[in-house]
């Protein structure tokens, strides 16, 4: 029983006139203002999908202003792999006229428009869509009553959506209770009243809109572990915890802040601490200080903050100190587009700073990978005694996905600092081996204590002006990173192993890239998709893969620059001197649409088949026959 207002059987208010139609996945865009709680509707749907073993991906835009202003939340949920948030919506929920005006263009032909008839007047006779007028505001006020006015209309809509897509009402009710359970009982009761009212809205007004997701093939969920639902910043923070990181320091900046908030809250439980510093430079300095005491530490920021950290990062390279630096990329340069996505910090991450600073740069491909890349970054930082930069981005930071709970008992890393005695022959910077620091607190057998330094130094860490040593030490710092490169696994390659085109992506462009490949292959073009998680050093063997395709098209969210190539393309062209490497870039601050990548590929390979496929309008899965 959901609440006193709910009929005994779901749907009892007005039984659907027909059996639900089966759909694979659906994209729902909720458009309103930022205070309407539409993010929480998206959050409920995402978590429900996670609990139902369905895949889910969300896409959120929030205004960078403090309160108010238009806001959207898009959720794509369905059966099987969901790789992108979807080019266009199958269902648009418009709370206001401005929501309708701004987003009706995002609705696929045949899609469903649910609009608040108290606020929105849609274009009359627009028969491209199924239009459903719902008195969302007055319906909510009527259901909840009291002084809350229209508060709760997000939950009203959640009820309506639950009806249309035949969602599991019991599970949703449980989620609502968990979410509001900590508050007073009235809030839970009002939320359930709004939910029930939305759910019970007369079915015949819905024009027989009634769908059900295809049954999940449970064999594809082989891990045996339940799904969890979270955003990329959370996954990254928890990956660091699993990897034994117990110390960190940072300074607030969008979209990095939520990682430091999570760590500040969580770390004391694990015996650790996270320090909020006076600025970005202090943050990285404190983090390196932690690492020096034997506790691999994390600092992070967005692009402008990474620039501020560069001098200290140069020191960490010179002194060979392990360190994790997270950069959640946003639109730049400068303050730029702080709540939009961009992949424009790649070259900064690899080549920023002064002097020759060979660096490790990794990038997660989706929310789940944020967890695993954090763990891998820690392993690399410890093994090679080096700073590692994780390049995430705004899209990963803010979107919610469901993934299998990690196998924690297998993955957990012991966080203990090694303060054991070091032998008489201890040297912090041996020329013939990778640096292993002796943290303060550890006794040194020779009685000669080591110095860590940013000056060029000898094997014991003492400063030197020797040309020979500078050459040798520069090579030492370079060779260990090259050694890492040879140990990396081959990157993920999908589709045809040779052909007309190889699509290359990095970071959050993985999903749209993979979906674009499916469209390209469906159009009859032979091609593959290669995704890079390890960007610097590059894994071995890419040259051979590139040689099997006529064109290598690198899709990334940054500018084509002065010479017509995006940042990864610049790197790959410099590394492989292969003129077949070309670019698809964009700088609108939004994640790639599948059609944008396909159109970009079509431009480069001049394929009539691909061009033709672009002309075919994608009809909504919700369209009536």
């Amino acid at each position: 029983m959901v609440s006193p207002n709910t009929p005994e059987t779901p749907g009892g208010a007005a039984a659907p006139s027909a059996a639900p139609r089966s759909i694979h996945d659906v994209v729902i865009r909720l458009a309103g203002n930022s205070q309407d709680g539409i993010q929480s509707v998206g959050g409920f749907l995402a978590r429900l999908a996670g609990r139902s073993d369905q895949d889910v991906m969300t896409y959120m835009t929030i205004p960078s202003t403090i309160s108010g202003g238009p806001s959207i939340f898009q959720v794509r949920m369905g059966t099987g792999d969901i790789l992108s948030s979807g080019d266009r919506a199958d269902m648009l929920v418009a709370f206001y006229q401005h929501s309708y005006d701004a987003h009706i263009g995002s609705l696929r032909p045949g899609g469903v428009l649910l609009y608040d008839s108290d606020h929105v007047t849609p274009v009359e006779g627009d028969n491209r869509f199924t239009q459903v007028a719902v008195p969302i505001t007055s319906g909510t006020v009527e259901a909840v009553g009291g002084a809350g006015k229209d508060k709760g209309k997000n939950i009203y809509i959640l009820g309506l959506i639950a009806r249309v897509f035949d969602l599991d009402v019991q599970k949703l009710a449980a989620l609502i209770k968990e979410r509001f359970g900590g508050k007073n009982e009235d809030i839970v009761r009002n939320a359930m009243l709004a939910f029930d009212a939305g759910y019970a809205w007369p079915q015949n007004n819905l024009h027989d809109l009634f769908y059900r997701f295809e049954a999940i093939d449970l064999a594809t969920r082989a891990s045996g572990r339940p799904q969890v639902t979270m955003d990329g910043n959370q996954a990254l923070a928890y990956g660091l915890l699993a990897a034994g990181v117990r110390h960190g320091a940072g300074y607030p900046i969008t979209p990095w802040s939520s990682i430091m908030e999570t760590l500040r809250t969580e770390l004391p439980k694990y015996g650790g601490l996270f320090v909020q510093c006076e600025d970005e430079i202090a943050a990285i300095s404190t983090a390196i200080g932690f690492s020096y005491t034997g506790h691999l530490a994390i600092t992070g920021s967005a692009g402008p903050g990474l620039s501020l950290k560069m001098e200290a990062l140069g020191w960490a390279t010179m002194a060979e100190m392990p360190l994790i630096v997270v950069n959640v990329q946003r639109g730049g340069p400068s303050t730029g587009m702080p709540t939009n996505v961009e992949q424009s910090d790649l070259l900064q991450a690899i080549y920023g700073s002064h002097g020759d600073t060979p660096r490790v740069v990794l990038s997660p491909k989706n929310v789940e990978d944020c967890f695993y890349i954090a763990m891998e970054a820690c392993r690399i930082a410890r093994t090679y005694s080096t700073p590692v930069i994780i390049l995430s981005d705004m899209a990963l930071a803010s979107r919610i996905e469901a993934f299998d709970e990690p196998d924690f008992p297998k993955l957990m890393v012991d966080p203990k600092a090694d303060l054991s005695d070091r032998g008489a022959d201890f040297k912090p910077y041996p020329l013939d081996a990778i640096t292993r620091h002796a943290p303060p607190g550890s006794k040194i057998g020779s009685g000669k204590y080591p110095t860590v330094t940013g000056l060029e130094h000898d094997e014991l860490g003492h400063p030197t002006g020797s040309s020979k040593l500078h050459t040798q030490m520069t090579a030492k710092r370079r060779e260990k990173i090259k050694k890492l490169g040879t140990s990396l696994p081959s990157p993920e390659l999908n589709g045809d192993s040779s052909g007309e085109v190889l699509l290359v992506t990095w970071g959050s462009t993985w999903g749209p890239g993979l979906e674009a490949l499916k469209r390209i292959n469906t159009a009859g073009v032979k091609g593959g998709h290669l995704h890079l998680r390890h960007i610097h050093p590059l894994p071995d063997g890419l040259e051979g893969i590139f040689n099997r395709y006529h064109k290598i098209v690198v899709a990334e969210i940054n500018d084509e620059g002065l010479y017509g190539f995006g940042q990864l393309a610049v790197m790959l062209r410099a590394r492989y001197a292969n003129p077949a490497i070309v670019s698809v870039t964009k700088t609108d601050g939004l994640t790639f649409k599948i059609s944008e990548i396909v159109a970009g590929v079509a431009r480069h390979i001049e394929s009539a088949r691909l061009d033709a496929s672009l002309g075919v309008a994608q009809h909504s899965a919700l369209a009536k026959n």
Binding site: R47, G50, P226, V228, T229, M230, Q234, Y238, A242, A249, E266, P268, K269, Y270, G271, G272, L273, V275, C277, E278, D279, A282, A283, S285, T286, I288, G289, F290, Y292, T293, H295, A297, E311, A312, A319, E405, P406, F408, M412, P415, K416, A417, D418, L419, S420, D421, P439, P440, G441, K443, I444, G445, G447, K448, Y449, T451, V452, T453, G454, H462
Partner: protein, 317 residues
């Protein structure tokens, strides 16, 4: 923080029964110019460590950039040489990363009051448990005579060939303003005084700072003569309150009185030397962070790391 769960148990292979002596503590020969005041600061620091006899492996000597910041190379302890002005936040990481350590940071007036000014303020206000020694020579020496934040008006440098025109920092006022819980001033010609000030600073629980006037004989000779008696100057020692009930005690300086400390800091050049301010009441950040851990561990009933993560993820199903 040295939460016991985060550090491996020490091995007992090496015993350090031998007392720490200047001989053991001496490392590279200093690169300073002959006659530099910093030699005396170094000699005093050896004596401080001889006096305190901390376990050798638990002493950390750290610095930023500048002539004085070469210090860690000359002291045989764990230590490091960081970037310009940022030694304090690094040292905060050391102190908070392992509470068992004795952390000493050395630097000059440029490091402390110019490029690192913001870090001085915040490391002090957070009361991170470490000792900071500022060797003030009122000039940029390593880069060969540019104006420093403590250069007096009229001092001719390569960047102010007609004499400095900007108001210099008053180090004592600045340090008191930051919220530092131990603030003292000394002079490189007064070895016993330096030893006393640095020893008290080392023993102080919290952020302790000692400013030492240390002459640059190459680029600012005679800068501090007015406080050297044998050069005709006045050595004015702060008389600390003894609370002995004598009438003269009423005129002595109460080191816990912030207002009195500010008054002393406002004296005309060359001013007084000694402890200006000491606050042993305010908790250190080290203690406050440890309290957060204790509370969090109580709330979570000392769950293991694995249990904690599993419980968190169970909530996200």
């Amino acid at each position: 923080m040295s939460s016991p769960t985060l550090v491996s148990p020490p091995t007992a292979a090496i015993t350090t029964a031998v007392p720490l002596t200047k001989k053991i503590l001496t490392a590279d020969h200093p690169t300073w110019c002959p006659g530099c005041g910093d030699f005396a600061v170094l000699a005093s620091f050896y004596r401080v460590l001889e006096k305190l006899q901390y376990p050798h492996e638990k002493i950390v000597t750290f610095a930023g950039i500048g002539c004085s910041s070469r210090f860690p190379y000359f002291v045989n302890t764990h230590g490091g040489h960081y970037i310009h002005g940022r030694a304090l936040p690094f040292a905060a990481g050391i102190s908070l990363g392992n509470d068992d350590l004795h952390v000493f940071v050395f630097g000059g007036d440029g490091d402390g009051f110019s490029i690192g000014g913001n870090h001085l303020v915040h490391t002090a206000r957070k009361n991170v448990n470490l000792t900071y020694v500022i060797m003030d020579n009122s000039v940029y020496g390593l880069t060969k005579k540019q104006t420093s934040p403590t250069s007096p008006i009229g001092f001719k440098t390569k960047t102010d060939p007609t004499g400095a025109i900007d108001q210099p920092i008053n180090p004592m006022r600045t340090l008191l303003n930051t919220g530092a819980t131990f603030v003292a001033r000394s002079h490189a010609t007064q070895v016993n005084h330096m030893v006393e000030m640095m020893t008290r600073a080392a023993k102080h629980p919290g952020f302790s700072v000692v400013e030492i006037l240390s002459e640059c004989v190459e680029f600012y000779a005679g800068a501090f003569d007015s406080s050297i008696p044998r050069k005709g100057g006045t050595w004015s020692l702060i008389q600390e309150k003894k609370n002995d009930g004598t009438p003269e005690d009423a005129d002595r300086h109460d080191v816990t009185d912030e207002v009195a400390a500010f008054k002393l800091a406002g004296q005309a050049w060359p001013g007084s030397f000694g402890v200006f301010y000491e606050n042993n009441v305010r908790k250190t950040k080290n203690v406050l962070e440890a309290e957060l851990v204790t509370k969090a561990r109580e709330r979570t009933k000392n769950a293991t790391d694995l249990q904690l993560l599993q419980a968190t993820f169970a909530k996200m199903r």
